[in-house]
Symmetry: C2
Subunit: 125 residues, 2 copies
DNA sequence: AAGTGCAGTTTACATTTGTAGCTTAAGCAA
DNA sequence: TTGCTTAAGCTACAAATGTAAACTGCACTT
């Protein structure tokens, strides 16, 4: 995923993306609204603006049916790993190991995390 | 470090912070400028603005001598781990292990990183 | 003592982001 | 058919951000 796509997803827009990622299929504004109005307390107009911006940024696709249906163009995984690499570039001198060391040293890992990681690195090759 | 400090450091401001973190002692504007003008191509006025904003945000301390000397109030480590936790909260459901899993799956780790991690989580208790 | 230069402060201005209203047109209810 | 509802598009507007100029006063030079 290129920088000019993901880097432009703002916090508010990300909430919309998360919703679209969770959905199996494309969603009409109605449903997007239903789910965000409660959780975020946004006005319908706000949600429309966010969707429009995501579409114009090319990260959400709109498909005309009776009404427009929206779906993500980029996957959540792609976005996540892009954001992670971006963090590593910006503040860990580009070294993933520094990020992890920081996590370990700042007690950023729960016991559960550690157990999980121990599993992960036991079998991984 | 509380959210209201670190969350307000913007990208441009971060460049100034990085410089201050690298410095052993407090620096006068002159030196900050010298180092940033080349690397970032910023006008002196821009650099002054960034410093002023950092001071007003409380993340940089200014000490009056002949002229003001500036030094970071928060450490780079604190900032890094705050930023990392923020990322985990925002896009990894609060689970550090998901971040690491993402790194592993997206080839974000070098062989050396992986070896290091295997060591790290082999002995940890 | 007067002039210059630059630190420090104030102001500026375009773009992005967060948040939302207004307008237009089309579908559905009456 | 007439109007109500609402999707879609356009406009709005304050705060934050990136970038920088203008102003002010002090220190150092001549």
């Amino acid at each position: 995923m290129s920088d000019n796509l993901a880097s432009k997803i703002t916090d508010s827009e990300l909430e919309v993306m998360k919703l679209l990622w969770r959905a199996k299929d494309a969603l009409p504004v109605t449903e997007i609204r239903e789910q965000l109005q409660g959780s975020k307390g946004w006005e319908p107009a706000t949600i429309k603006t966010l969707i429009a911006r995501l579409v114009s940024k090319g990260v959400v696709h709109q498909e005309k049916r009776n009404v427009y249906y929206y779906s993500p163009v980029i996957t959540e995984k792609d976005y996540s790993s892009w954001a992670t690499k971006d963090l590593i570039t910006r503040i860990y001198n580009g070294k993933a190991s520094e990020l992890i060391a920081s996590l370990v040293n700042s007690n950023g890992l729960s016991q559960a995390d550690i157990a999980e990681l121990r599993e992960m690195f036991k079998v991984e090759e």
